[in-house]
């Protein structure tokens, strides 16, 4: 261990050097405070033993400078002093000294105080190393989270299906880097468009991993797995669109809650037939769907079954909505109505409905964006506790 000794009086300095050297410490000695400060800045000293009264810079000033000088390793400072008044000790401690030793110092007392200092330095060193490791781990984790968040973003609708019969709009606001929510809308065949909004319980990595798994499974690119489309029994060269009931029941079979550490999810999965404007869907524990008819009449349509994973072999009832031109459907996660303001008051279904009705004359994109802005404005400085996802459909022809 490197020790810096600052002492203008030669006999004391010599004795200190000899004692410290005999105890295996590497000593650098300065004959005044100014020289000590120069040595300190260019060296790697974990222990400083300084006289109080010195020319150029006294011990108190040296300690203050050492404490102002930011570096990785803490320096333990012992002030040597003939002063023993309380006020002096208080001044020394306030300036940043760790310990005192009265002159003439006793060799054994010096050694004991050095050992106490070495213990603290050793603890400090361990703490620094652990902090460094934690910082590195944290940096790695942040990078991983950022990469995972990019991956999640890439699973969101890249390009909306183009149809003269329907328009689509969506918005997705994760409350943390990684989200438990996800949504998508995609072409299944020439006249069927599939869509879903899912919300995994909890937050963080576990919820996000499950969310990504669901996204992958419900991706049209993964349709070869036969979940969203399947071979026609009559003509295996043809593929037919799976019914929402079949898709959701299959999800329920694959994601039992006990196999996913208590995580489950809610989902609305639906298929729009663009030829007939018939929307078939299943809502598994999800918030109600909002239907606003072309003449502005709103309706909440409640869910049809338990969240995915709760009840084994649950039969999910499929619902059918015959939509008309001008109708808007809005599927959203519970993060929207449950968003809280600074007084912990929830935004609620009523305000959400009012926002959507209030913008019914605007484009679907604007209506969705406006609803999200209204919720954000409601939350104010209150950080959102849940992800917010919304998917909207408008029948245009």
């Amino acid at each position: 261990m490197n020790v810096l000794v600052a002492e203008d009086e030669r006999v004391t300095r010599h004795l200190l050097e000899q004692y410290l050297d005999s105890w295996g410490l590497k000593v650098t000695a300065a004959s005044d405070g100014g020289q000590a400060w120069e040595f300190y800045q260019s060296g790697d000293f974990e222990l400083v033993i300084s006289d109080w009264n010195m020319p150029e810079m006294n011990g108190l000033q040296l300690v203050k400078k050492i404490r102002e000088h930011v570096r990785g390793q803490y320096a333990y400072v012992i002030l040597l002093t003939a002063r023993s008044e309380k006020a002096d000790l208080v001044n020394g401690l306030c300036a940043g000294a760790d310990d005192f030793l009265s002159k003439p110092f006793d060799r054994n007392e010096l050694r004991a105080r050095l050992r106490a200092g070495q213990r603290i330095i050793s603890l400090q060193r361990t703490l620094n190393e652990r902090n460094r490791s934690l910082q590195q781990a944290n940096e790695r984790m942040e990078k991983d989270l950022a990469a995972a968040a990019r991956l999640q973003q890439s699973l969101l609708p890249e390009k909306l299906p183009e149809s003269k019969s329907a328009k689509f709009a969506w918005s997705f606001r994760p409350c943390e880097e990684l989200a438990g929510d996800n949504l998508n809308v995609f072409q299944l065949d020439s006249h069927h468009i599939g869509m879903y909004v899912a919300d995994v319980s909890g937050h963080g990595v576990a919820a996000a991993l499950l969310s990504v798994t669901i996204s992958q499974l419900l991706s049209p690119k993964s349709s070869q797995h036969g979940l969203l489309v399947q071979p026609d029994a009559q003509d295996t060269s043809k593929r037919i669109v799976s019914s929402p009931g079949r898709v959701v029941s299959e999800l329920n079979r694959r994601f039992p809650i006990e196999e996913f550490d208590g995580n489950y999810f809610t989902i609305v999965y639906g298929v729009l037939d663009t030829r007939t404007s018939v929307f078939r869907y299943v809502s598994a524990g999800h918030p109600p769907i909002i239907l606003i008819s072309g003449d502005g009449q709103p309706q909440f349509i409640e869910n049809t079954g338990f969240p995915i994973g709760w009840v084994q072999d649950h039969e999910y009832a499929e619902r059918t909505l015959q939509l008309a031109v001008g109708d808007r459907l809005c599927i959203y996660s519970d993060g929207l109505p449950e968003a809280q303001n600074v007084d912990d008051e929830q935004f609620g279904d009523r305000r959400l409905l009012e926002s959507l009705i209030g913008t019914v004359s605007q484009s679907l994109d604007n209506s969705v964006a406006q609803a999200m802005l209204t919720i954000e404005s409601w939350c104010g400085t209150h950080h959102a506790r849940d992800d917010m996802s919304m998917l909207a459909i408008q029948i245009t022809d």
């Binding site: 203008d8 009086e9 030669r10 006999v11 004391t12 010599h14 004795l15 000899q18 006289d51 009264n53 020319p55 003939a82 002159k103 003439p104 006793d106 060799r107």
Partner: protein, 115 residues
């Protein structure tokens, strides 16, 4: 009555006569020049220099457990006022005598312990 507490001195040095001899050599060199500085400061009525030099002598003497000499040095260290020369002169002479005694006693300690 000796000025130097020989037993405490040797205990603190852990019986290391070589270390005592080295410290003593430095003490002899330094005390000579410090006494000269003390006299010059007193003649020049430089109270700050006088106090500072006395403080160093006190620190040096304390290493040899020479309490009586330390007390005289402390008196010089604490002298204040505009005409310090007159007040300091007898104390400086007293301290010089004590330093001579300290040197002589340390030589005896070293001789008696085989250095």
């Amino acid at each position: 009555m000796p000025i130097v507490d020989a037993q405490q001195l040797m205990e603190n040095l852990d019986g290391d006569l070589e270390l005592l001899r080295d410290a003593f050599e430095i003490f002899c060199e330094e005390s000579r020049s410090l006494q000269s500085e003390l006299r010059a400061a007193a003649q020049a009525n430089n109270v700050q220099e006088l106090n500072q030099t006395a403080h160093r002598l006190n620190g040096m003497l304390s290493n040899f457990f020479a309490d009586e000499a330390c007390q005289t040095a402390i008196q010089l260290e604490e002298i204040q006022g505009s005409d310090v020369g007159a007040t300091a002169a007898p104390l400086i002479e007293q301290l010089s005598g004590q330093i001579e005694t300290v040197q002589s006693e340390i030589q005896q300690i070293m001789a008696s312990r085989g250095s």
